[in-house]
């Protein structure tokens, strides 16, 4: 363990801004990408479902 306290950890030896900007933005991007992919998957299924329903209604 490198740190003596949690606030020590947050301070990052005085480089808090740089370190947390790096980690924070990376985390944000990863979360955004995961959300985007999940949405993409949901939409693709929804669109396919609409297509199937159109097919079923239009052909007796």
């Amino acid at each position: 363990m490198n740190w003596s306290s949690f606030s020590d950890f947050l301070a990052m030896g005085g480089y808090a801004f740089f370190v947390w900007m790096s980690y924070g933005v990376t985390a944000l991007l990863v979360v955004a990408e995961v959300a985007w992919v999940v949405r993409q998957r949901r939409q693709s299924l929804a669109r396919a479902r609409i297509q199937r329903n159109i097919r079923e209604w239009s052909s007796p």
Binding site: Y15, F18, S22, S44, R52, R55
Partner: protein, 265 residues
């Protein structure tokens, strides 16, 4: 429609395979990220030269590696698509590109925030950063080209040509930028230089592994979305929808294995 099965068989069976594998890769990525962050942020000692700002390399270097590596994997799929004319290849290239671009951007962003305390400037025309910037442009080019072609099959083939031309040029670009950099006496401090403690190296490798697993997991889920999108008119997607409850959570079902698929990849 009998003809569809000729080339569509492969994506249909891959859809099931990807669905079964993705959760495992996602779990591996999550575990490795936690372990890597613990090593990098908690266990590893402070660097005696750079202080704690060096801890940015635990994301900077893995992101740069994976950004580069993903482009090579894209080129591999593109080459497979050109040689075997399989539909899945283009979809995989399409699925990998956004994640590769994201990691390349992360490498640039963290490079800037590492450079400010180290070099005193957010952006320095360092050889590695410059090459990474050009790599980012290559990703943007691929994504822009895809976005402006309506026919997905033309987009697949055009994207494959562009990716292959890009990958042939990458070594030339890296070499030329390095040459340019040494001539102009640019910054020479590198993140993660040779005198690295074993703990630091271990943390970096674990984080690289995490990024790699994450890329695989995300691109597998994305390729499933792309497959459904493109094959929404085919019979197997209809069967797939029948087998699913209308509102089950995405990503949880293992997917319906393509019973008609002959080729599994």
């Amino acid at each position: 429609m009998a003809i569809h099965w000729f080339k569509y068989a492969s994506p249909a069976s891959f859809y099931g395979l990807a669905g079964r594998l993705a959760p495992w890769f996602a779990a591996a990525a999550a575990v490795a990220t936690l372990v890597g962050l613990y090593i990098g942020l908690v266990l590893a000692p402070t660097d005696f030269q750079q202080g704690d700002s060096y801890r940015i390399i635990y994301i900077h270097v893995p992101a740069a590696w994976i950004g580069m590596f993903t482009y090579l994997v894209m080129a591999g799929w593109a080459a497979a698509g050109v040689v075997f004319n399989t539909r899945l290849s283009g979809m995989m290239v399409q699925a990998l590109a956004p994640t590769g671009a994201m990691f390349t951007f992360v490498a640039l962003w963290t490079g800037a925030f590492w450079g400010r305390p180290t070099w005193g400037a957010y952006w320095v025309w360092d050889a590695r950063l410059t090459s990474t910037l050009i790599l980012f442009f290559l990703y943007i080019g691929y994504i822009a080209l895809r976005a402006s072609i309506d026919d997905p099959r033309r987009a697949d083939r055009a994207g494959a040509v562009l990716t292959l031309v890009g990958v042939v040029n990458i070594p030339i670009i890296y070499f030329s930028v390095k040459w340019w950099n040494t001539l102009h006496q640019g910054a020479s401090v590198k993140p993660g230089s040779s005198s690295m403690a074993t703990v630091m190296l271990a943390g970096m490798l674990v984080m690289a592994f995490a990024a790699w697993m994450y890329t695989i997991a995300v691109s597998l889920v994305r390729v499933r979305a792309i497959i459904v999108e493109r094959e929404q008119h085919s019979a197997w997607v209809g069967e797939l929808l029948d087998a699913r409850a209308p509102d089950d959570a995405p990503g949880t079902s293992g997917g319906v294995a393509g019973s008609k698929g002959e080729k599994a990849r």
